[in-house]
Amino acid sequence: MICKSAAARRYYVRFAVTMTLYVIALCVTVEAFVRWHPRGALAYLLALMPAIPAIGLLAVFGLYLAEEKDEFQRMLGVQSMLWGIGGTLSVTTIWGFLQSFARIPHFQPIWTFVLFWGFVGISTPLLQRRYR
């Protein structure tokens, strides 16, 4: 959503903070595995660390939908999430078949997160334009 409601402003701040935490967690995890090659429980903990803020981004969006009083803006938010889900499922399904039968490189599930937010990011301004 690209509106100026109080809920939208809170969403932008929360999204920026959570995304920053994600980048920091990712850098820490990568550095830790490159330098110290952790094993066992520590390896699991470090590997999961970036996933927490990544999942947090979904919670941030859910909070926005719960707090936004403008029902039309809520609908736009839900629509952009649906485009994100649909786009991600489409790409990963196509890739899965190509991977199984045409032997293209293995798809790393970690990219579903990037794909999802990429589709949400592309669909949001397009939906805004449609209703401008």
Partner: protein
């Protein structure tokens, strides 16, 4: 759903932004309702009706 929002708004000399402020929604929402691209929920339709002092069916018609 068709509506008379643009006419009612013009009668009062309100811009889309002014109506949006009174309804506490975005200007884009008012535009989407006015152009028939979005049908408001019943609570929002009632708010519009109260604002214009008219029954809902005087603002919205169920013609395609």
């Amino acid at each position: 759903m068709k509506n008379r929002l643009r006419v009612l708004r013009a009668e009062r000399g309100w811009s889309q932004a002014e109506l949006a402020d009174r309804l506490e929604v975005s200007r884009q929402s008012v535009n989407a309702i006015e152009t028939g691209k979005y049908d408001p929920s019943l609570p929002l339709a009632f708010r519009l009706a109260r604002l214009f002092g008219a029954p809902i069916e005087a603002i919205f018609t169920d013609e395609a």
